[in-house]
């Protein structure tokens, strides 16, 4: 790894695993995940419910609730800022509680799915900000804290009259804006978003996504964005990681993944959501349901649901390997360069334009 890549790397997860439970009763919810996030980039993590995407982020942020435990691996986080000449990494897995407290919110902040339950119901908006500022910026005066809060609310398009409101007095979209403003309070270098728009209506979703993209380009924080909605992710993310049953099955630049998925599961996910633009297509979805973590199928974990499964898939687990000549990885035997494996046409396409330009859909007419 060369010098510039090191200092531009924000988070490096290496063979990261999370278990629920101990000893014989333990089930592995996140299995040997290796991924990284570079400074100022947006990495999307997609997958069904139970794929381990949320467990992964609660794992490396050390917010797992019992009986969740980190079972192995490293989570290296870069504490230095963008101007530093080299990275200063801390392993979040082995960090002490007091070291973690310094990293929390100053360097890594989190936005959860439901802002109503994520905001303390008995505190006014202003007090929620005060709590953070008093803890991490003890030298700030009352009026400085107030100014900072107003500034942050303005960033997310909220008027300062929201200061005295309680969470239950705000609309769903406003609450999530408050949550985002709260997440940016200390200028973190990484903001983790756990399905921040899932609980919102489509129009508000668009506004929030637009706001996030704008804020990211303004402040240059990196983002991990978790969702099961791949079409949403493709507009925001630089890179997308697809998880299935606790493992990473595919990783690729966002548009590339969207246009030409290589893993059958990714293709299934893409067929489960209507495209944002373009012609109506039949939603096929993925047959079956995610595997039971305590009874994981052998070989490739997706093979019982995979329409292209081969005999080999039930026996051997495919590694996450780089696709030849491309900046992407996939864990699938179809793409292992095996002569016998006939790669189906849907998984072979290169750079297919999945969505025609805006306006073209009118020409399609009724189907």
């Amino acid at each position: 790894m060369d010098e510039t890549r090191t200092k531009n790397r924000i988070l490096d997860l290496r063979n990261f695993s999370v278990d629920y439970g101990w000893g014989d009763g333990a089930v592995r919810a996140v299995d040997n995940v290796t991924m990284h996030v570079d400074r100022s980039t947006v990495v999307g993590i997609a997958g069904e419910s139970g794929s381990g995407k949320s467990t992964l982020i609660y794992g490396f942020t050390r917010l797992l609730r019992a009986p969740g435990v980190i079972a192995g691996g490293e989570a290296l986080f870069n504490l230095s800022d963008a101007s530093a000449s080299e990275g200063n990494f801390i392993n979040l897995v082995t960090a002490t509680e007091s070291e973690m407290r310094r990293v929390r919110w100053s360097n890594i902040s989190i936005v959860l799915q439901s802002a109503l339950s994520a905001l303390n119901p008995v505190l006014r908006v202003r007090a929620q900000f005060d709590q953070v500022l008093k803890t991490h910026r003890p030298h700030m005066s009352k009026s400085q804290r107030r100014d900072r809060t107003i500034e942050l609310l303005a960033l997310v398009g909220l008027n300062e009259d929201r200061l005295r409101r309680y969470p239950h007095e705000l609309s769903g979209g406003q609450r999530q804006r408050v949550m985002i403003a709260l997440a940016l309070t200390l200028n973190p270098s990484l903001v983790v978003m756990d399905e921040p728009t899932t609980a919102l209506d489509v129009v508000t979703q668009r506004e929030i996504i637009g706001k996030l993209a704008e804020l990211r380009s303004q402040f240059g924080f990196a983002m991990i964005f978790i969702t099961h909605d791949l079409s949403l992710l493709v507009e925001l993310a630089d890179e997308i990681v697809v998880m299935y049953a606790g493992t990473v099955v595919e990783r690729a630049p966002a548009q590339t993944l969207y246009d030409s998925p290589r893993h059958p599961y990714t293709l299934g996910l893409l067929s489960s959501f209507p495209p944002m633009h373009g012609a109506r297509t039949e939603l096929t979805g993925i047959p079956g349901s995610p595997p039971d973590l305590s009874d994981m199928p052998g070989g490739c974990r997706f093979h019982p649901r995979c329409p292209y499964a081969m005999e080999r898939c039930a026996r051997e687990t495919p590694p996450l390997a780089q696709v030849t000549n491309e900046s992407r990885s996939v864990a699938c035997w179809l793409h292992a360069g095996d002569e016998d494996a006939a790669v189906p046409v849907e998984l072979r396409r290169v750079g297919v334009e999945r969505h025609p330009p805006l306006g073209a859909e009118n020409a399609e007419g009724e189907t």
Partner: protein, 326 residues
């Protein structure tokens, strides 16, 4: 403030209904206090004396129920609760003598029990699964054994045998009641054992309630967020406790309202002057003015406690402050 005003109006209305029911109740009950009194004299009275007794209680002045009702209300506003039949002194004087003792003893015990139970419950809830959990069966054990048995055993061991605490009464008989230091100190000293016994037998309820709420609230997203925000452990626990305490506050208000009704068993075991004992005697002797007086005080105390709880709840939980369009 408008919400409090509206609540206040509701309480005034409730109080009026309660007072009216209180007035009607003796009229609906069987029996007759004069008959009871005469019965007690066991025939050693002449018919003239019976007539005299009847007249002295307002007999013969047969007024309609409605007119009696207005007289009752009018007297009530003048602080006149009538004269006790058995004790032959004004009900208000009798109440003034016993209500403060009850409020002092049961009130302090209730508050102590609430504080100890809630604080320990919060910690137990936060550290659930730890060795501290052994406190729960211990506390429920003391709540499970009948109170009179617990109190009697405590009185026997710590009072009569070990002489750690004074027994019988609310203060040393050598002292004159008054706001003097020796008297107040003596009152405290005599209250110790009853207070400990009440707290011991009631703390489990507060503890379990708070512990369970704490476990529920600790699983909420905003508690997880307060950890993610890097707040100190103390602040994180306070965030959870602040939200978990709300149901306990509601229960406390109900408990405070019942303080005035006294605790008969406590008063009997420790020979403590109080409302419980007074009410028992009043009911046995069909002493209507006294029964009415005690009921009135209890009713008003419950209402006042509920109003207090409403105000505290409004202050603690902003979600209850939402104005509903009338």
């Amino acid at each position: 403030m408008r919400i409090i005003g509206r609540r206040l109006l509701l309480y005034v209305l409730t109080a009026w209904v309660a007072i009216s029911v209180n007035f009607l109740l003796p009229h609906l009950m069987p029996g007759n206090p004069i008959q009871t009194l005469i019965g007690k004299l066991q025939g050693q009275v002449t018919p003239q004396e019976i007539e005299a007794i009847r007249l002295s209680f307002g007999g013969g002045i047969d007024k309609g129920l409605l007119s009696q009702y207005f007289t009752y209300i009018d007297q009530l506003f003048h602080g006149n609760l009538g004269v006790s039949i058995t004790l032959s002194s004004p009900v208000s004087t009798i109440l003034k003598a016993s209500v403060p003792w009850t409020i002092g003893l049961i009130g302090v015990s209730t508050l102590l029990s609430f504080l100890i139970g809630t604080v320990s419950g919060a910690l137990l809830g936060w550290t659930r699964g730890s060795r501290l959990d052994a406190l729960i069966p211990t506390a429920t054990f003391f709540q499970a054994i009948p109170y009179f048995f617990l109190a009697t055993v405590m009185l026997l061991i710590f009072g009569s045998n070990l002489h750690w605490f004074p027994v019988l009464g609310a203060y040393s008989q050598n002292l004159h009641p008054g706001w003097t230091w020796p008297f107040v100190a003596s009152a405290f000293r005599y209250a110790e054992l009853p207070v400990v016994s009440i707290v011991l037998s009631s703390v489990a309820g507060w503890m379990l309630g708070m512990r369970n709420m704490m476990i529920t609230v600790a699983a909420e997203d905003f508690v997880l967020m307060s950890v993610a925000m890097g707040l100190s452990k103390r602040k994180v626990i306070m965030t959870a406790a602040r939200n978990a305490v709300l149901p306990s506050i509601a229960n406390l208000s109900l408990a405070i309202g019942l303080v005035v009704s006294g605790a008969l068993l406590v008063e009997l075991v420790f020979n403590y002057p109080g409302v419980g004992d007074l009410l028992l005697n009043a009911v046995q002797n069909e002493d209507y003015p006294l029964i009415q007086g005690i009921f009135l005080v209890i009713t008003l105390a419950v209402l006042a406690a509920n109003l207090l709880a409403d105000v505290v709840y409004l202050a603690l939980d902003p979600r209850t402050r939402t104005e509903t369009v009338a």
